[in-house]
Structures are given as structure tokens and as C-alpha cells.
Symmetry: C2
Subunit: 377 residues, 2 copies
């Protein structure tokens, strides 16, 4: 009798499971494989997935017919036996529309292929649009982008500011004056493709997780912009939190004696770290820029240390203006976290800036679609 452990498996079963689900699951398994490790033969796929060659052939055939995969011929190297025919993901067989609504002055979007490469861009100015007007701006932007590709569109992903619930309804987004706005439904109705909406920090962490060369441990992406927010991927899945408000870390108090914040509290993380304020402080005449940045970094480290210890995170990624984040601030954050946690928590940890830059949100929005439609990420 060997020891078992219920790792990763959710404690409660989720629902009815059909054969159809099994097939979709296995399709995802193969896609995922090709997605991460590049082209492979049917036999290779069979070996690594545990499915039989027969089943793999069947599934691959299906996906070839749909266009998601392409046959790539035999590999160059020569070995005993019949040479395999490689199959690989056809990254431009389908395109995805990713939208980033997190900037205050504009809404940007992109046509993204299945490999996370941006194929086209488009953006619209917000110009103070709010409520329904803002929704229509989004609808227009998405339609425009859909017209920019001749490939079938797999779906639309949106990274929106504010709190977004599981159905893609924006519960609350002050900047756009949205409350309980069913954005996913509106887009789905208008465009007739699957639509996924999530908080911008959440899409960012998905982007980083899938396309940012990150590992498989817990990942946290901290977005620094007009505000400060975070997204977390734990155990391979996006954390939503009890009320869908996971990652809302911008208004944690770090310094009760600090500046007054718009949220009526004093000394929130945002009063120190939000890009406009920080930029102003650094530029103040007579200010010691690096020292200011280091001090803010230290404060950030103090906030993150308990989170790192509690979650045993693998990576923390800072996303935002590089001139502010990448340097004394990052270094101080990294150092502070290590000073304030045990080696077992901090040795496995990497603190770095984003590798995707400005595109994290749109690419992450595309991952939302990839995960939802193909089970790939």
C-alpha cells in the first residue's frame, strides 16, 4: 500500500463529469504539451500524456481538421525505426482579441495569436467617457480589432479596472463609473464570440504566468500605475478570493502616520507607491531620488513579507514604470522581504520586474480566452 496525498485536487468535486469533458480535458492536455514544449510526434505525445497512440492520433486528427495544429514533417535527426511526423501548434490559425481598460486616459487592445504574439494594435481615447458611453467605447474598440484580422476569432478577453465577478460583470470601477455592469454579456451579445472579463491585475498575472517565463510555483504580479493592485496565481489557477477582491492590496495601511488617502484612511500603500505620486516625490527639488525609491521599496517589502511567508510564493513580479520600479525600489523590496522572512520562505523566491512590459494586460486577457476555450495556459 503506497502513501497517497490529495495534492492540488480540489477538496470538493465540482460537478457532473461527462465523457465529453474527458475528451476536452485530453485535448487540452495535448495542446498544453505542444504549447509549452513545442512540436512533437504523436508517439511522443502519447508517451508524455499517458494516453495511447491511438487516442492521441484521433485527437490530433480532430485538431488538425480544426486548424489548431499543423503537420510539420519529419525531424532532421535520424534514428532507428519509422521516422515520426511532427505536429505543432499553428499559432495563427486563430486569433484572440485582448483589451486593456486599466489606463485612465485610453483603452487599448490588440490582436494576439495563440502563442501570445501581438499581431495588431488599436486604441481609443477615453476622453472622460463614463458608464454606458464607456461600454460603447469598449464595444467599438473590440469590433474594430475583430475587423483587423481575417482569422477566426477564438474569443475576446478583457482586463478591466475595479472588482470583476466570476460572470464577467464589473461590480465596481470608479474611474469608468461602472457598477454591476455586465460587460462580458454585453460584448458577447454584440460580437457573438466567447467573452471573458477579469480584473486587470488578474489578467496581468495570467499573462506573466503563461508567457513570462515564470515557474510553476505561486506567482504574484503587483501592478503599479494610477493605483496599486495585485493578481495571484496559486497552484496553477487564478485566485479570485471570497468576494472576487483578491489582490486589492493598494489600500493596506503601511504607515498610520502617513499621508491621507482618497479612501479616507491614512498611509495606504498607494499613497507611497502609486506612479504619479512617486514620480512627483522623486522629482522634487532637492530630493534624493534613489533614497526615496529605496524607502518606498522597503515599505513594500514590509507589506509583502507576510504574504510571501503565508503563501510560500515562488515569484513576485513588479509591473509598471521601469524607471521607478527597476532599481533601488526593487532591490529594497527584495532585501526587506529576505530580512523579514525565514530562509525556507525566501530562498525559493525571485523578485523581478515584468518581462512583458506594457503588453501584460492584453496578453493576459488573451490567456483568459486560451484557458477558457482551449484549456491551455
Amino acid at each position: 500500500m503506497t502513501p497517497h496525498t490529495p495534492v492540488g485536487r480540489p477538496l470538493r468535486p465540482r460537478g457532473k463529469l461527462l465523457q465529453e469533458d474527458a475528451r476536452r480535458h485530453h485535448r487540452s492536455l495535448l495542446l498544453q504539451q505542444l504549447f509549452r514544449d513545442g512540436p512533437a510526434s504523436r508517439a511522443d505525445l502519447a508517451r508524455s500524456s499517458g494516453l495511447t497512440r491511438v487516442t492521441v492520433s484521433d485527437l490530433v486528427g480532430e485538431m488538425l481538421a480544426e486548424g489548431f495544429l499543423a503537420e510539420l514533417g519529419a525531424p532532421a535527426e535520424t534514428r532507428v525505426g519509422k521516422p515520426p511526423t511532427l505536429v505543432g501548434l499553428a499559432p495563427d490559425s486563430h486569433h484572440i482579441i485582448g483589451l486593456d481598460l486599466s489606463e485612465t486616459d485610453r483603452m487599448s487592445g490588440a490582436v494576439v495569436n495563440l502563442a501570445g504574439t501581438v499581431r495588431a494594435r488599436h486604441e481609443v481615447h477615453v476622453d472622460g467617457a463614463e458608464g454606458e458611453q464607456a461600454v460603447e467605447l469598449v464595444l467599438g474598440l473590440a469590433a474594430e480589432l475583430m475587423a483587423m484580422t481575417d482569422r477566426p476569432v477564438l474569443g475576446v478577453g478583457v482586463g478591466s479596472p475595479g472588482v470583476v465577478d466570476a460572470t464577467g460583470t464589473v461590480v465596481d470601477a470608479p474611474n469608468l463609473a461602472w457598477t454591476d455592469t455586465p460587460l462580458a454579456e454585453r460584448l458577447a451579445r454584440a460580437l457573438d464570440v466567447p467573452v471573458f472579463v477579469a480584473n486587470d491585475a488578474n489578467t496581468a498575472v495570467l499573462g506573466e504566468h503563461t508567457f513570462g517565463e515564470s515557474g510553476d510555483g505561486g506567482l504574484m504580479v503587483l501592478r503599479v500605475g494610477t493605483g496599486v493592485g495585485a493578481g495571484l496565481v496559486l497552484g496553477g489557477s487564478l485566485l479570485h478570493g471570497h468576494l472576487g477582491a483578491a489582490g486589492e492590496i493598494g489600500h493596506v495601511v503601511v504607515d498610520p502616520a502617513g499621508e491621507r488617502c482618497a479612501c479616507s484612511r491614512t498611509g495606504c500603500l498607494e499613497t507611497l507607491l502609486a506612479a504619479p505620486r512617486l514620480r512627483r516625490r522623486v522629482a522634487e527639488p532637492g530630493a534624493d531620488g534613489p533614497a526615496v525609491l529605496a524607502e518606498v521599496g522597503t515599505r513594500l517589502g514590509e507589506v509583502l513579507a507576510p504574504v510571501v511567508a503565508a503563501l510560500n510564493l515562488h515569484e513576485i513580479v513588479l509591473s509598471g514604470p521601469a524607471e521607478l520600479l527597476d532599481g533601488p525600489l526593487l532591490d529594497a523590496t527584495d532585501r526587506t522581504i529576505r530580512e523579514r522572512t525565514m530562509p525556507i520562505s525566501s530562498t525559493g523566491l525571485a523578485v523581478r520586474t515584468s518581462k512583458l512590459g506594457e503588453d501584460v494586460v492584453v496578453v493576459g486577457a488573451a490567456v483568459l480566452v486560451l484557458a477558457g476555450e482551449l484549456g491551455v495556459s
Copy 2:
């Protein structure tokens, strides 16, 4: 086209999925149902699970034969149509052995039924036993408990101090001088039943999650004893962390100017909160007990606030000596968390002490087995 969202579903498929797995999954689904909501008719189960009556009948028949379920006759109330026959969980059809190795002076264990009720107890003194000696003490305790029930034993669950990996190997437990000790394997070999081992704080959070009347949002259990540790259930599953060290929050620095800690840092949470130290400080001549407790509670709140905000937790449970935790300390922690986080993070949050008391760990260890063997929790 309706909006979709990949909620809760892990982003990456876990592995091959057989029909057999589907059947186990559906069994779990029904068991879970009966487990949470009590007895029901086959027709009720079919309606709420989405399976057909045929399938439910088949599965229920199987589980009746195995003894897990029992027919309970018709309900008292009378309605139109053929009266249903209720089936319900047979809580004492099988028993589970739960072990708690977290105390320094003794190892305790219990025979637990499927409903989480303790049916018998046993314990052994540690008397300084270490390494292999301590392992044999555990083997003996488990064997003794297995002899105390005449029901089939579903498995053995163990809550061990220290870091435990996914295979049930204790990576590091200083008190017992265990390093890379394959405890699950040893027990499985000796007793010939499935064995599950996890960190004591992790088993505690499982116990609280399943039998502590807690909700479905994120749950954190903070164990205060000789040391301080935590366990987390997020999105319905236990969080392990990158290196299996999630919840190791005892050595987060809360006061760099504080007392020196055994871990070579200064001002760790443990230096304030560990039960022996705290008890001593409260009992000091001239000390204002409640004030000391409130101050420690405030510090704890400062550590937990970032975690609460980042995870949007639903519940925080303090488990340990009630005379220390339940009162000014708990109140101060609760207050501090609310002062330091946004309403959206804190309104959905409840901070309380454990409802299972001393039994959290053994009962949680039983849940480990329930989840692993029956997919129930």
C-alpha cells in the same frame, strides 16, 4: 453566446482522465451531498447532482453494498406519488485513525468516524524520543488505535510538525529530529492501509474547513502553541506553496527592534505570540494582562492585514490556548485588520477562535483521509 469564465478550474490539466475517474468523481459528488446536507432520496440526489436517476441508483447501490450508505426508509411527511426511500451516510461504517504529533510532550491520536466524531482516544508520552525512536512511537500509537475499533479502517491521517512534502515525507521537523523521514511510507508499510501526512497547521485548517461550520471562501487557521504556524484553504483546496512551506508565518519579523529569536532574527511573530512566552509575559508581576494581549493582537493584525487584502479571505480562525487568544488579543487583531484594509477586504471577513478546540488536528487528519479516499470534505 453566453459569457464564460474559467473560475476555480486549474489552468493546466492535471493528467489523463479515465472513465473510472469519472465514476469515482460522481461517487464523491453524491457522498459530498449526503455529507453536507444529510439524508436524501435517490431522486433528490439525481436532481441536485445533474446525474440521471439511473446512474444515481447504480452508484448508490454500489455504496450501499460497501456499507458507506444505509437506507433509512421513507420520510414522515406525505406527498403525491410514490414515497421515496431516503439514503444517508453510515458514519460508523468505517473508521479513520487521526494522529496529532504537534505537541512537544506527547503524541495523541483518535479513532474518528466518517462524520468527524471522535470515537476513542489514545496518547503516548514522547519523553524526549527523537528520530527513529519517535517514528516507532508513532507506529505503535497508530497500531494501538487500529486495535481499538472493530470497523474497517479507511486510512490513517497524520498532522506532523515541520515541513511535510506531497508524498508524506517529513522534510524537516527539529523537535523530533526528523529530516527527510518518509513517515507516510513507514506507516503504510507497517499498517497496510492508506496513509496521509501533512503539516499540523494544514490538517487543522482542513478540520476547521470541513467540520468547523466555516463557509466556502478562503480560510486561514493560525495555530498558536510552542510555535506559531498557519494553514490555508483557498478555492476549496489546501494550499501547499512552492516548497510545501505555505503558512510558515511564525518567523515573519514584526518588530525589528524586538526580542532575539531562536531563528537568529529579531522580533519574529513567534517571539510575541508563542504560548509559553506570552503566558509568561501576562503572568509577570505588575503586568497589565489585557493590555499585553491587546498589544500582541495588534501586532498580529498588522501581519495579517496584507494577507487578508491579498487573498480576500473569508475567515481567520485562531487555534490555541483560549485563555490567551479569546478576548483582548482576538479583538485587537480583528480591529487592526479592519483599520488597515479596505471595506471590500474586511466586510466579508470573520475573525474567530476554533470551534473544534483540541481536536482540530486529529479531526483534520481524518479529513485528509476522507478527502484522499472518498473525495469528501
